[in-house]
Amino acid sequence: MSCAVEQTVENLPPRGRGALAQLMRDPMGMTGAVLVVGFILLAIFAPLLAPYDPIQIDVRHKFQPPSLAHWAGTDQLGRDMLSRLIWGARVALGISMTATGIAGALGLLLGLVAGFGPRWLDAVLVLFFDSFSSLPMIMFALAVITVLGPGITTLIIVIVLVSVPGYGRLIRAQTLALKGADYIQAERTIGASSARIILYHLLPNVVGPLVILLSMDIPVVIMLEAGLSYLNLGVGPPTPSWGNILYDGYTSLRSAPYMVIAGGIPLILCTLGFTFLGEGLRDALDPKLKLRVAR
């Protein structure tokens, strides 16, 4: 999913209150944190916050423009747009966090194996990482969807497959850099096992950069989920997803433009929030982790 990550052993992330204080001093990072916390709360408390049932059809009240009864209007089936958008947050965050979590764990494992394991295994894994990184993300996603059929599980599988190489590469680079460090060599000299070195020394040091990378990839994943759902290849109806809400709006663009306007706002705010937070976290924890580009 991402590339051009530069990381060196001498800039291991500072931890604790210093980084948090720096994040709080950064207006962009703070804006991001507020937006992200807001969306997480929205997703958790969606059943309490949504004024109506998001899948309840009421054709007598279809295409109602925004009013006091329906703040964001109703869609072509009379469903309350605001409720659908609130529940959409749960779908977007649920899918993106599950998928990046699984991808992060797999990337961590493969990266550690590549960096710490035998050289032939490292070469095989690097070739695997490079090959996957060479596939244009969306093309690969569409190929997998053709084989497995659209749906939330396929979406998660796709996201995991396209994300793992980026995380694996980062962890491998970190592991290789740390492996030669003096304190690791000293551990080896006193007879520490590989498992001990990995668990007590490598893992705590490589997790920080991975968390930054994961937080920066969440908006990309949210965009991918919304985009594929917009193409009717991700989350299918009647489950509310920001992508399929935007598609419904697109089909009624002339008669009910408020649907597209309302549908785009949470998606924009959420991706902005995660991006701002990711940038803030990177600056606070690890200023040298360079800008990356989504494939």
């Binding site: 051009a4 962009m28 060479s134 993300m137 969306i138 569409l142 084989v147 697109y250 998606l267």
Partner: protein
């Protein structure tokens, strides 16, 4: 340089072979009958038998792999199940349209991005610099298909200034150019952000480098120092990011072409996925991967020519 070029091209070919093996596995190792999946819901016993024979499914696995690679190497990407035309012909028909869209998007993004990046360097540390920084990150964060939908609503539906759908009338350059404006705007916005940030960062880094100080010490005019020595180095990361981003442009094109119902690789592959037109999907993925690898490799070679230090990476 020759040694580096050979190694880099060999690596690209090796990756392509691995990707092809992966795609072979996807077609042949997935549960179920590959011929039925390839043909989708339109499978008839006759069509299935024909496809099994064509795909070589009745042969041994090594033979099948050989058959698959030989066909791909000779440009045989299969037959479109719906139109019965060779997949390569179908792809080549729409590919130039996507290429044009991507190139136009990138062109205006590069011009504006370099401009904004230079402005940020001139006013570094000021409010304008910070504002441009936030603006760049925001441009990167907003999904291209949302920009496409909003610009479609404002400029095509409400104001009626630009066409809402299609690629313009064939033979009418003016109409084709007008149809390019909104899609290329939607794709290019995030690139303005990327390039502005990158140019700012690399310009700031280069302006403090020893060779710039030396050039100044020799009394060279500032324009020569900036254009001949600073920009040459500062532009390198931009080329790299543009090449790596070829995939990102393709992703945006898939969504944006769909929003504007514009013929291209995006509408071709999404239509094929919906109809489960397997040969077109796989052929397009393979074609675009080869294209992407070509772009990335060409950019790497160009970068190595501009900045000899890069060659040491593979040499080491």
């Amino acid at each position: 340089m020759l040694g580096y070029s050979i190694k880099r091209v060999a690596l690209a070919l090796l990756i392509l072979v691995v990707v092809m093996l992966g795609m072979f596995a996807m077609v042949y190792v997935i549960p179920g009958d590959p011929a039925s999946i390839a043909l989708g819901p339109r499978a008839t016993p006759e069509l299935k038998a024909l496809l099994i024979q064509r795909m070589g499914l009745d042969q041994s696995l090594p033979n099948q792999i050989w058959h698959f690679f030989r066909a791909a190497a000779t440009g045989d990407l299969g037959i479109d199940v719906w139109s019965k035309r060779p997949v390569l012909d179908v792809i080549l028909e729409v590919f130039p349209k996507t290429l044009l869209l991507g190139a136009v998007s990138l062109c205006w993004a590069v011009v504006l991005g370099i401009g904004l990046g230079c402005l940020a360097v001139i006013w570094r540390g000021t409010f304008i610099d910070r504002l441009l920084g936030v603006l760049s990150v925001s441009m990167i964060a907003v999904p291209s298909f949302v920009i496409a939908l909003y610009s479609l609503l404002i400029f095509a539906v409400w104001l009626g200034w630009l066409p809402a759908i299609g690629a313009g009338q064939s033979g009418d350059w003016g109409s084709q150019a007008r149809a390019l404006i909104l899609p290329s705007f939607a794709i290019g916005v995030s690139w303005v952000g990327y390039i502005a940030r990158l140019v700012r960062a690399s310009m700031l880094e280069v302006m403090g480098a020893n060779h710039i100080r030396t050039a100044r010490a020799f009394g060279l005019p500032e324009t020569v120092v900036v254009l001949k020595y600073a920009l040459r180095i500062a532009i390198v990361p931009t080329i790299a990011i543009i090449a790596i981003g070829a995939g990102s442009i393709l992703s945006s094109a898939v969504f944006v072409e769909t929003v504007f119902s514009r013929p291209g690789i995006g509408t071709l592959i999404t239509g094929a996925v919906e109809k489960r037109n397997y040969p077109v999907v796989m052929g397009t993925v393979l074609f675009m991967t080869a294209f992407y690898l070509f772009v990335v490799t060409a950019a790497d070679l160009l970068i190595a020519r501009l900045d000899p230090r890069v060659r040491d990476v593979l040499r080491g």
